[in-house]
C-alpha cells in the first residue's frame, strides 16, 4: 500500500542513466596502499587533527576530533603509519587543496576495540553524545553532522523521513544499498526514530527503483516497524530534503528554517545504514558506497573506505574508456568537476562520473535571456530565476537577495531548461558567495569597530582616573606639606614613597585595564577570555559613561 503523495512545484525528468550501474551488486573495494583522509568532510568546522607524521594508527582510531558544535570526528580507515599531515587535493569545486592525513596502510587492518551502543536503554536524545565520536555525516550531499541532527531540541519530532529518492541521474548507490541491505537500513532508521522520539517513519523512493522499494517494504514487514514506504514519481529534484518532505507530508518547510521546525527530520538511507553500523557494531563511519559510472568499462557501486583515492575507485570500475575528458563528483545536475583524481573519497561523495563529449556535450554558447519563463516553470522553489539572473549578472546583490536568492537550492533545473543556455546557477552561486563574503566582512568590520571604540573609551577612562589620582595626590601633598614644615626630609621621603606606590598601583591598574593577566599559551582560550571580559566590561563602561 503506497502512502499519499502530495504535489510539489516545478521539477523535471532528465534522462536517468541508472541502468549503467544499478545491475551489478555492490563491490567491496580491497584495501588500498595509501589513504588520504581530509579533516573537513562535513558541514561546519573542520576536525582538529590529533596525529602527526610518523604516528601509527589503528583502523577506527580518531585522528581528527570535532571542533565546535557543528563538526564531526574523522577516523583512520585502516591501520598503518601517518606519512604526513599536509594540504592535499580534495574533491571540492574550488580545486583548492585542504588539510589531509596521509596514511600508509600496513596491510594488517588492525582495528581499535569497537563497542556497540546499547541504544534501547538510552533515553531519546542521549544517543547523540556517544555518536559524536562516530563521525557520522549525512550522505545525501549536505554532509551535516548526524549526531547534531539526532538531538535537535526545540520542536518535538513527529515524523522521521528516510530519503531513498535518489533523484539525480546516473547515481544508484542508494538504490543498490536499499536492495542489498534494507534490513540494516531499517534497523538504523528505527534507532533514529527511537532517539528522536518520533512516532512514524516515512520512506520515500522514486518509482524508477521498484526493487529497492520492494526490499524496503520487506524489511519493514520483517522488523514490524511503524514505517511506511511511499513510492513517489520520478521527478528531479524529489530527493531534496524540502521537496521530499512536501511530497510525503504535504508540509512546506518555511524559508530559512529546517524541517525540524515543523516536527520532521530527514535522513538519507545511507546515513541510516552507517548509523546502524555505528550503534549495533560500534564501528565509526569508515566507508561508504559510491557509484562509479559514466564512460568507464564496468560501472559499479563500490563500497570503499573513506580516504581511498578516486583514481583507485575508477580503476576498480574497469578504468576510464578512451575519450574521457574529466570526472564529475556527484550527479550531473548538482555535482562539480573534479580537478585531480588523486583526491580521496569523502563522506559527501556519492558518485563519480567519467565524462566524455558524447554523454555530456559542451554547452552551446549562451544567448540573451528572453524571459520566456521556462526556468520559472521548472523551479522547485517557485522562484523567478530570470529575475535572479538579471540582478546577479548586474552584481546587484541586494536586489538578488530581495528576490529570495537564498531560497534557491541550486538544483540546476533552470539552467537545464533554459533555451538560451545561460549558466543560471553559476550566477546564483557567484551572487550567494559574494553576499556571504560581504556579510562576513561586514560582521568583522563591526567587531573591529566595537573593539576600537571600547579601546578609546578605556583609554579615556584611564586618563580620567589618572587625573583624579594626581589631583588627590596633590591635595594630600598640600596637607602633608603643612605637617612636614618641621621635617622636610621625612616629607620628601614620604612623597617619594607615595609616588612609587601610586606608580605601582597605576601600573597594576594599567595592566589590569589592558586585561593581560590571564595569559595562557592556548590561543582559543584567550579569545574566549577577551570576549568574556568585553561583555563584562561593557555594562560597566556604560554605567560610567
Amino acid at each position: 500500500m503506497n502512502g499519499k503523495v502530495y504535489p510539489i512545484p516545478g521539477g523535471l525528468h532528465p534522462a536517468e542513466h541508472k541502468a549503467e550501474s544499478n545491475a551489478r551488486t555492490i563491490l567491496v573495494a580491497p584495501l588500498a596502499e595509501r589513504y588520504i583522509v581530509p579533516l573537513r568532510q562535513h558541514l561546519g568546522q573542520a576536525a582538529r587533527v590529533l596525529v602527526q607524521a610518523g604516528d601509527t594508527v589503528l583502523k577506527g582510531q580518531i585522528i581528527g576530533t570535532p571542533d565546535g558544535h557543528i563538526s564531526a570526528a574523522v577516523h583512520a580507515p585502516t591501520s598503518g603509519r601517518v606519512l604526513a599531515v599536509e594540504p592535499r587535493p580534495v574533491a571540492h569545486p574550488s580545486g583548492l587543496p585542504d588539510l589531509c592525513v596521509v596514511i600508509e596502510a600496513d596491510g594488517a587492518d588492525t582495528a581499535v576495540e569497537m563497542h556497540p551502543i546499547d541504544w534501547r536503554n538510552l533515553a531519546p536524545g542521549e544517543l547523540a553524545k556517544p555518536l559524536a565520536a562516530m563521525g557520522l555525516a549525512g550522505q545525501g550531499g549536505a554532509v551535516f553532522p548526524s549526531h547534531v541532527k539526532l538531538a535537535p531540541g526545540g520542536t518535538a519530532i513527529e515524523t522521521l523521513i528516510l530519503n531513498g529518492a535518489e533523484c539525480e541521474p546516473w547515481i544508484t548507490c542508494d538504490d543498490r544499498l536499499m536492495r542489498e541491505r534494507a534490513t540494516a537500513i531499517m534497523q538504523g532508521a528505527e534507532i533514529m526514530r527511537h532517539t528522536l522520539g518520533a512516532k512514524r517513519i516515512l520512506v520515500g523512493i522514486e518509482d524508477n527503483k521498484p526493487q529497492a522499494a520492494e526490499a524496503m517494504r520487506g524489511a519493514c514487514a520483517q522488523l514490524k516497524l511503524a514505517a511506511r514506504v511511499t513510492v513517489v514519481p520520478t521527478r528531479y529534484p524529489s530527493g531534496g530534503a524540502k521537496q521530499l518532505t512536501q511530497l510525503l507530508t504535504g508540509l512546506e518547510t518555511p524559508s530559512g528554517k529546517i524541517s525540524t521546525d515543523i516536527g520532521i527530520q530527514v535522513f538519507n538511507v545511507a546515513t541510516a545504514y552507517a548509523l546502524y553500523r555505528a550503534v549495533e557494531l560500534g564501528e565509526p563511519m569508515l566507508s561508504r558506497v559510491v557509484s562509479v559510472t559514466g564512460h568507464v568499462a564496468e560501472p559499479h557501486n563500490i563500497e570503499a573506505r573513506l580516504g581511498t583515492p578516486i583514481v583507485d575507485l575508477i580503476r576498480l570500475a574497469g578504468g576510464d574508456l578512451a575519450g574521457v575528458t574529466g570526472h564529475i563528483i556527484g550527479g550531473p545536475m548538482m555535482g562539480f568537476d573534479l580537478d585531480d583524481t588523486a583526491a580521496p573519497l569523502v563522506k559527501s561523495v556519492n558518485c563519480v562520473i567519467a565524462r566524455n563529449p558524447a554523454l555530456f556535450p559542451r554547452h552551446p554558447p549562451a544567448m540573451p535571456c528572453t524571459r520566456c519563463g521556462q526556468c520559472a516553470l521548472a523551479c522547485p522553489a517557485s522562484l523567478q530565476p530570470f529575475e535572479l539572473y538579471w540582478h546577479a549578472k548586474a552584481k546587484n546583490l541586494d536586489k538578488a537577495r530581495a528576490y529570495k536568492l537564498f531560497d534557491c537550492i541550486e538544483c540546476g533545473c533552470c539552467s537545464h531548461v533554459c533555451p538560451s543556455h545561460i549558466p543560471l546557477v553559476d550566477y546564483y552561486r557567484f551572487a550567494k558567495s559574494e553576499i556571504v563574503a560581504a556579510d562576513r566582512a561586514k560582521q568583522a568590520a563591526e567587531g573591529a569597530r566595537q573593539r576600537h571604540e571600547f579601546q578609546l573609551l578605556r583609554q579615556e577612562r584611564e586618563k580620567q582616573e589618572k587625573a583624579a589620582r594626581l589631583g588627590k595626590k596633590a591635595s594630600e601633598r598640600l596637607e602633608a606639606g603643612a605637617v612636614a614644615a618641621d621635617d622636610p626630609e621625612a616629607a620628601r621621603k614620604k612623597a617619594i614613597l607615595d609616588a612609587a606606590i601610586a606608580r605601582a598601583k597605576q601600573a597594576k591598574e594599567t595592566v589590569q585595564a589592558k586585561n593581560t593577566e590571564t595569559l595562557t599559551p592556548e590561543q582559543q582560550r584567550q579569545i574566549d577570555a577577551i570576549e568574556a571580559r568585553r561583555q563584562a566590561a561593557s555594562p560597566a563602561t556604560e554605567h560610567e559613561a
Binding site: G256, P332, F360, P364, P365, M367, S382, E387, D407
Partner: protein
C-alpha cells in the same frame, strides 16, 4: 569555468522556440492566403528580407557578432507578425518603414533580443498607422467579395511598381472600419453588420483566419511555449468589456463574439501579447497584463480614433509590465505569501 548542471535539455534553443512559434502561425497564414490572395507570401518574404537586412546593419553598427543574432529566428518572427498586421499588398516602402521601426528602433536601440521594452512588431505597426493611416486601412477584400483577387505577379506589381490597378478594385473597409464609420455617423450596429464585409460573426474571411490563429495558439500552449494566462485573460477581458457595453446599449455596441473574432484580437491574444520579452512574467502579472490589454482593446475600438486597439493596448501594457511584475511576485517556496519583491 562552467559548473553544474552538466546536462541540458535536448532540442531546446531560442531558435527552436522561434521556429515552433512560426509553425503555429502557419494555419492562420494559410487561411489568410486562401481568403486574401497569395500576396501575403510576397509581403512575408519582403518583411523577412528587410528584417534580416536591418538586423545585420544595426549589428554591424553596434559592433556585435552577426551570426548568433541573425540565426536565432527572432527577427523572422517579428517580420512575420508585422506582415500579418499590415494590409497585404501595401507598397514596399511601407513595410520597410515598419520593419525599420520594429527592428532598429524598438529592438536594437533598446539593446537587442531580450532587452526591448516594447513589442517590436507592434511598434512597427503603431508607427505605420500613425504615419500612414490611409495606406493602413486599405485591406485586401476577402475572396468572396473582391471584384478582383490579385495573383502573385499582380501582387508584385502592386507592391513594388505601383501598378495601374486602383486600390478600390481589390480593397475594402474592414468590419471594424465599417463599425467605426457606422457608430460615428450615428447609425446602429445593424447598419454596419448589414455591409457585405460582415460574415457570420465578424469579418468575412477574417473570422476564419482568426479561428486559425486560435488553433495555432492552442498548439503553443500545448507545447508549453506560452502559458494560458495571457490569452485567457486577454480574451476574457475583451468578452467581458464588450459584453457589458453590449448589454447597456446593444444598438451601438457590437456583441462580444464579434469583438473576439474581429481584427487582431486572436493574433494579439496568442502571438503578440504573449511575447515573453515585453509581457509580464509572473502568473498573476500575466493575468493582470492580459486582462488590462483586453479591456483597453475594446475601449480603444469603441471610443478611440483607430478602428482596432490591440497594438496600442499591448504597447501601453508593455510599458507597465515591469511594474506589474514587481508587485505580483509569486509566493516563493517556504514563504508566507507573495507580493512585492524587495524589502
Amino acid at each position: 569555468m562552467i559548473g553544474s548542471p552538466f546536462v541540458l535539455k535536448e532540442h531546446n534553443s531560442v531558435r527552436f522556440t522561434m521556429i515552433k512559434v512560426m509553425a503555429a502561425l502557419i494555419p492562420g497564414t494559410l487561411a489568410h492566403a486562401w481568403f486574401f490572395g497569395p500576396g501575403i507570401w510576397l509581403s512575408l518574404i519582403w518583411c523577412g528580407l528587410l528584417g534580416i537586412g536591418f538586423e545585420a546593419m544595426i549589428l554591424v553598427v553596434r559592433g556585435r557578432p552577426l551570426q548568433a543574432a541573425l540565426t536565432d529566428g527572432s527577427v523572422l518572427l517579428t517580420a512575420w507578425l508585422l506582415a500579418l498586421s499590415v494590409p497585404t499588398l501595401a507598397p514596399w516602402w511601407l513595410y520597410m518603414t515598419g520593419m525599420f521601426f520594429a527592428v532598429v528602433v524598438a529592438k536594437h536601440l533598446y539593446g537587442g533580443l531580450g532587452q526591448n521594452l516594447f513589442n517590436p512588431a507592434m511598434v512597427g505597426y503603431g508607427a505605420l498607422i500613425i504615419s500612414f493611416p490611409v495606406y493602413m486601412t486599405q485591406w485586401a477584400a476577402p475572396a468572396p467579395l473582391a471584384n478582383y483577387l490579385p495573383n502573385l505577379s499582380d501582387a508584385f506589381d502592386l507592391m513594388f511598381i505601383g501598378g495601374n490597378i486602383t486600390p478600390d478594385a481589390y480593397t475594402s473597409a474592414t468590419v471594424l472600419d465599417s463599425l467605426k464609420t457606422a457608430t460615428r455617423g450615428g447609425h446602429t450596429v445593424m447598419d454596419a453588420f448589414s455591409q457585405p464585409i460582415h460574415g457570420l460573426i465578424a469579418g468575412k474571411g477574417m473570422e476564419l483566419v482568426a479561428m486559425m490563429y486560435l488553433f495555432g495558439g492552442l498548439f503553443l500552449i500545448a507545447n508549453r511555449l506560452i502559458t494560458w494566462h495571457i490569452p485567457a485573460a486577454f480574451l476574457a477581458a475583451i468578452a467581458l468589456t464588450a459584453g457589458v457595453l453590449w448589454q447597456i446599449d446593444p444598438a451601438h455596441h457590437a456583441d462580444p463574439l464579434f469583438h473576439l473574432l474581429a481584427g487582431g484580437a486572436m493574433l494579439g491574444a496568442f502571438f503578440i501579447a504573449t511575447d515573453p520579452v515585453t509581457a509580464c512574467t509572473t502568473p498573476r502579472g500575466k493575468l493582470i497584463f492580459g486582462g488590462l490589454a483586453g479591456f483597453l482593446t475594446v475601449i480603444i475600438r469603441t471610443y478611440g480614433g483607430y478602428p482596432d486597439g490591440v497594438a496600442f493596448s499591448v504597447l501601453i501594457l508593455n510599458s507597465a509590465a515591469p511594474l506589474i511584475d514587481a508587485f505580483s511576485q509569486p509566493r516563493v517556496f517556504g514563504h508566507a505569501k507573495g507580493g512585492r519583491a524587495g524589502r
